[in-house]
Every structure is written in structure tokens, then in C-alpha cells.
Subunit: 186 residues, 2 copies
Amino acid sequence: MSSILVTMVAGRAGTYRITSQRVVRGEGLLAHGAEPTHLTVESGHLTVLPSDAAWQLRGATGAQRYTERHELDKLTAVQPGLLRPEATHGAMIAIRKTGAWWALAQDERRAIFEARSRHIADSMRFLPAIARRLYHARELGEGFDFLTWFEFAPEHQALFDELLGQLRASEEWTYVDRELELGLSR
Amino acid sequence: MSSILVTMVAGRAGTYRITSQRVVRGEGLLAHGAEPTHLTVESGHLTVLPSDAAWQLRGATGAQRYTERHELDKLTAVQPGLLRPEATHGAMIAIRKTGAWWALAQDERRAIFEARSRHIADSMRFLPAIARRLYHARELGEGFDFLTWFEFAPEHQALFDELLGQLRASEEWTYVDRELELGLSR
């Protein structure tokens, strides 16, 4: 179980079409050249970018930071993999959390994350419709702490919007000070 | 509280003299050119290395992954900062943990780390003699998961060796499959 390293590259061509882009909170991403229309997830941490790249964001999968065994077993039983043929819609949500969040001890963050915000328990009903993969970006010096990748079939767009609404209404999200949302399709 | 990003660069000159080098477990580090004699901790993640660099390791500080509030308060009260004038000796311990470790849920890792290995509680008696800073490297795609930096006065060398012995005898350390130890002085 090694870490999966990726570089998300936005440009004028790529695997996914960017169907929407929304700066939910804080600063957006500055594009080099023309506004990007497409996004590609490249394997590894690229040091040389395609010359037409508008921006890049690097991430790495990591171990479970809050999920406990009883939760992990439930999740593992129902969560789908990426790249299901029918899951042609997707989203990339990049967030940064505040210094106050990061200064908390582990038990304090867990209490906000799950006991009070029910991040895991309340997300369970969106499975297996919505596939998800979390990339950590904070240790990479990116301007975001997390890049979350979602994939779902077009008929689950409303369900996905509901999931986002639920997360954003949580106590956990009061610690988010920068958020970018990209809608995607392939 | 943002992440502190560093690049440790080994070469033929630098801030710290490498007084010892020991591959405790697994593969060592392949040096480019002559064996390094010195180590410097540069700020940031360098993309261009000095031409005489033998190797580099990048790391980033992160939030507390296991430490709970009651432990953090105790630690904060007694742990010293880096660069105390008398703390001219030091060490850099690089470790990698197994896939089995990373596949565990958060509560399982916490139980091994603290309830059974007493990583925090048993390290407390080495404070404030030994200053310590943990850098995460796994998300950076380095060959190690953690780089731990230690600083202490020469008269505390035996105490430091005791700390290392204690850590290596713990259940937690059975999950370590690669470990490199550098002794340092400035």
C-alpha cells in the first residue's frame, strides 16, 4: 500500500472537460495563458509541465487520518472504485483548512470531523453511487490541503450536489478558508 | 500554522558534520559522487540541487497525527525549540513503515503507537534535554515516510541513545522496514 502520487494538469485539452468552475471561498487559481477547458490526472509528481498547462495541483493518497476500524470495514464493503464506465461525471474539490484546524490535537479534530460533523457516517448513504479519492496536498506545499476527486453517473448529479451541501453545512467546514470546485465530464 | 518544508542536502560541506552513518534496516541511500561528510537543512523543496550534492531528502511538518489534547499540553509545556546554543549534537533518523502499518485504521495505529508502545508517554522523560522535529516525507514520494530531527547537548548523547533503544524495542518499530541514522554535530 504505497502512496499514489498524482499531478492534476489543467489546460486546453485533456481527459476531462471542465464543465463548471466555482471559487467557493478564498482565492481562485491563477491560470497561465488562456482559461483551462480540460483537466488530466497524470501519474506522479511532474517537474516539467506541458507547455500549454494553465495550472497544476499535486496530491498524494495517504493513510486514514480519522477513520476507525469499524468505519473502514463499512466503507470498504460499499465504496466503489474509480473509472466505472457509467461514472462519466465527476468533480474535483480543492480545500484548505485554517491554521486553527491544524493546531488542534488529533482527538479534537476527530471530534469535530466525526462526532459533531458526522463526515463518515453521513456520507455513507451516498455510496456506492459516488466514488471518491482523497489526495493530500499540504505536505507538498500546494495552496490547498486536500484535493478530493469524485466520480458518478450523470443521473447522480443531484445526489452529489446534496453531498456537497451537507459537507459545507457541517462544523468541520467552518475551518475551510479556501475552496475551489470543478465540475468534470468525460 | 503552515507546514514547514525543508530539503536535507548531504554533500562535502554544510552546516552539520556527519559524525556517523548507520543503515539500521533495509536499503541505505545511494550517494552521487563521493560519500557525503556534511548535511544542511535548506528551507523549501529545492528543485535544483547544488552540483556537489550526494543526496537530498525532502520533508514537511504536519499536524499531530496521534497526539491528543492532554498529551499535547504536556509536551508543549516542556519541549524545547531547535537551535539552542548548547545543543550542538544532533541526529537525523529516517524511517519507512510497512504497507501493513499504512493499511491500518486510525484507531488501530493509535493503539499500537501509544496504548501499547507508549511512544508519547515514554518519550516525555527525555524532555527538555532532547529537541525533536518530525518531518513527513511519504506524501512527497521519498523513499522514507518520516525524517526525524534531533538536537541535544554533547552530555546528553547517552540519553539520546537510550531514547533510540527504547523506540526500536517498541511494538511500533516492528512496522519499520527501512531506517537510516545519521549522527551530526555543528
